[in-house]
């Protein structure tokens, strides 16, 4: 029971931080946040930025030990969130590969160096322990992670993450870099071909303009997928699906995973575009290279 309430507090902080948009946030959204929190009348109502180190740290989460016989992912983009420091305990969470996991643990602060040792709850296959350090007045968080289960495809990782605020910005555009690589997992040995992402995927911003069927009907499936998933990426969605995760983790600098469920955050325009694009994706998947329909 005690654990549950701790978890819910941690989750609450996660919710707070993911909606606190940092210095650029407009007055209205901060006011509405405080109103919302006040009306809930909760104990930890204000996001606590007491120590100045609380917040998001984002960057590559890179394998140290990888079992070559298992299908592991060498690097994923991770966000570690330090949510609060209370009674010499640190509470936070990490978001990586579509997995939102709370953690808690101990910390020390000596001669400007913060040292953290934290554990994930342990009831998820991929849980483990993080150890990281952070200097006062720097933006870099560095450390390692060791899985509880040593038989995982990747049993330890290291990371150097940059402190970064998250704010939804519909104007963010995909860089041309997304077209430089084949689609993850699409390589076929029998014909030595991979799916590619073409410049079609960059033609429209599906968060700012309402798409018509003529805009997208001639697009390849991978381009449609990137176009649709760029909407989720702007909202900080952490991708479970490796095809898209690979693209956004590796080639989109502005992308940072902060949430595993963004459905409530989508705008009406985005919802419409998602529905339209999805139709063409399904159609491409089922009928592009087959006889008939």
């Amino acid at each position: 029971m005690k654990y549950l309430s701790l978890l819910s507090i941690t989750l609450l902080f996660a919710a707070c931080t993911s909606h606190t948009a940092g210095p650029d946030a407009d007055e209205a959204s901060i006011n509405s946040l405080q109103l919302k929190l006040a009306s809930n009348n909760l104990k930890y109502a204000t996001p606590m930025k007491e120590y100045g180190i609380e917040g998001y740290y984002t960057g590559p989460f890179v394998a140290d030990e990888m079992d070559p016989n298992k299908n592991g992912m060498y690097a994923n983009k991770i966000t570690i969130s330090i949510d609060s420091l209370v009674n010499m305990q640190v509470y936070g969470h990490s978001i990586v590969a579509g997995n939102f996991r709370p953690f808690k643990g101990s910390y020390t602060h000596e001669q400007a160096l913060w040292t953290f040792d934290v554990s994930e709850p342990g009831d998820n296959k991929y849980d483990g322990k993080f150890s990281f350090t952070l200097m006062d007045n720097t933006i870099w968080l560095e450390g390692t992670w060791v899985a509880n289960d040593k038989n995982l495809a990747v049993s330890s990782r290291s990371y150097k993450l940059e402190k970064r605020d998250f704010a939804y910005d519909p104007e963010l555009a995909l860089p041309e870099d997304v077209t430089y690589d084949g689609v993850y997992g699409s390589y076929k040995e029998d014909n030595d071909e991979s799916e590619v992402i073409t410049s079609d995927a960059l033609k429209f911003n599906a968060s700012t303009q309402l798409l018509k069927k003529e805009d997208i009907e001639n697009m390849y499936k991978a381009d449609l997928e990137v176009l649709r998933n760029s909407i989720y990426a702007r909202h900080g969605y952490s991708f479970k699906n490796r095809r898209m995760r690979y693209v956004f983790d590796n080639y989109v600098d502005w992308y940072m995973p902060v949430s595993v469920d963004i459905t409530a955050d989508l705008t009406e325009l985005e919802r419409k575009n998602i529905e339209l694009i999805k139709r063409y994706e399904v159609h491409a998947e089922k009928y592009y290279d087959v006889f008939g329909r």
Binding site: N218, M219, H283, F291
Partner: protein, 200 residues
Amino acid sequence: MLLLLIYLFFCILMLGIVLQYIPPGTDTAFLGIKQDYVELPWYLPAFYVHVFTAIFALPAGFTQFSRYIRKKYRRFHRTNGKIYVFAILLFGAPSGFIIGLYANGGWSSQIAFCLLAVLWFWFTLRAFVYARRKDFHRHRIFMYRSFALTLSAITLRAWKYVLIATLHPHPMDVYRVVAWLGWTLNLAIAEILIYKKIRK
């Protein structure tokens, strides 16, 4: 014989395509990307009439061109021929014209499909009229043309399959190409056969 087996194979594929529309829905298969039009009161009726009746034109390919059947089982040839003719004149071609008006790929493929429907209707009608007049020479000529267009149901899809497997074109580009390629080539082959076999 081999040709008939290949034809049987494609007819079974076509039947499979038809069967996926049972029970009829507003969102099934091809209709998934036709959502702008399914709300028109005439689109879905035309679409389903086309799907479920045009297929009756295909069995003719097994029997009507056989000299043996024509000579030995005249009535069978006539009955089967009527099924073919009415399936096209009353249902397949008019419904094809209506859905052709809303074809994917813009005006180019819309013209291709509508023209296909008009010619299909015209050739079939002429062939039928000449049969009634016992002008079997012209009946044959127009049946070659009519059936060449009937076959476009198969050749259009086959071309699409081949072009995509080899060149990986954009989906709507290939559709615009096969909307024409699917039946014009058939018609050209029919004209060659007419010239070589019938007119001599």
